[in-house]
């Protein structure tokens, strides 16, 4: 993970996409095997009964991936300040998810270097989660 500096970031910069493969095991392990979760995370039939078409990928797992994706891009001195996401379509386990991002704003506020990144997960060519993540980056000076 390399450090990204505020001065080197431009609006419309794109973050290199990353592919993830969510599984039902990941969904269960993410929350802990002893913790109750939505049955549809582990059971494709339960997901189908909800009208989803298979085991449901937890929104919080996807949000966490997006958070990590942006944090990795920002580098070890970058700080994630906020994450906002809209879950537009349910994702089904065992189908690849592509994470991508683009810088949409940069500004200095109260002495902080703030960068807004628009992030999206894409499954089967369609966006499933859209969000904005605000990170604070160090400056070079």
């Amino acid at each position: 993970m390399s450090q990204r500096y505020y001065e080197d970031v431009n609006v419309d910069d794109e973050i290199e996409p990353v592919e993830k493969l969510p599984t039902t095991d990941m969904a269960i392990d993410f929350f802990g095997r002893d913790n109750p979760t939505n049955p549809a995370f582990a059971d494709a039939e339960a997901g189908k009964r909800m009208g989803i078409g298979g085991a449901l990928v937890p929104g919080l797992l996807k949000l966490s991936w997006l958070c990590q994706y942006t944090s990795d891009w920002a580098g070890p001195e970058g700080k994630v300040r906020s994450v906002r996401a809209a879950y537009r379509r349910p994702d089904v386990a065992d189908r690849p998810l592509l994470l991508s991002g683009r810088v949409v704003e940069k500004r200095q506020e109260d002495g902080k270097n703030l960068v807004e990144v628009e992030v999206v997960t894409i499954a089967d060519g369609q966006p499933s989660v859209r969000g904005n993540i605000q990170v604070e980056l160090p400056g070079r000076s």
Binding site: M1, M26, D29, F30, F31, G32, R49, M50, G51, I52, G53, L56, G59, L60, L61, L63, S64, W65, C67, Q68, S71, D72, P76, K79, V80, R81, S82, V83, R84, A85, A86, Y87, R89, P90, V92, Q126
Partner: protein, 153 residues
């Protein structure tokens, strides 16, 4: 569905804006470690021994938000989420979580047909009363019988 009557009652509406009593929660090392493993996060800031939990540990912290909004329809799915961080989480620290129902409203049309949007929030404070993080989430309640056949699920 145009003549669908709202299932939200005055009793439901009366829940909006009421804050919960603080619920004491702990940032657990095992949660942070397990979630890092699942996510595949190798960020050196959060490895065991640093005492710092990654931001997404918030997904495991809870704090009484679940169950605050009434379940009016049989199924629910998370549709919007916001996390805000005032500072990093420290492993082992105790936080007081204060939750509230922000809004309950009907929605007609869309993927779920008649649905109900329930928005809740939780603010987390350290034991000195300083704000640490906040969660805002919208859950869409729906009846599977109302899902429109769009072939995209």
């Amino acid at each position: 569905m145009a003549d669908q009557q709202s299932l939200i009652t005055d009793e439901h509406r009366a829940l909006v804006g009421k804050k919960s009593d603080p619920v004491r929660v702990t940032v657990k090392a095992e949660d942070a470690s397990r979630m890092r493993d699942v996510i595949g996060d190798s960020d050196a800031r959060y490895v065991d021994g640093t005492g710092i939990a990654p931001p997404y540990t918030l997904a495991a912290i809870g704090g009484g938000r679940a169950g605050m909004a009434p379940m009016i329809l049989p199924n629910a799915i998370l549709t919007q989420q916001e996390w805000r961080f005032s500072r990093p989480f420290k492993i082992g620290e105790e936080l007081d979580a204060v939750s509230q129902v922000i809004d309950i409203r009907d929605r007609l049309g869309g993927r779920y047909g008649y649905s109900i949007l329930a928005m809740t929030s939780t603010d987390y404070y350290d034991l000195a009363g300083e704000h640490v993080a906040a969660v805002l989430m919208t859950v869409t309640q729906f009846d599977p019988k109302g899902i429109q056949e769009r072939g995209d699920s």
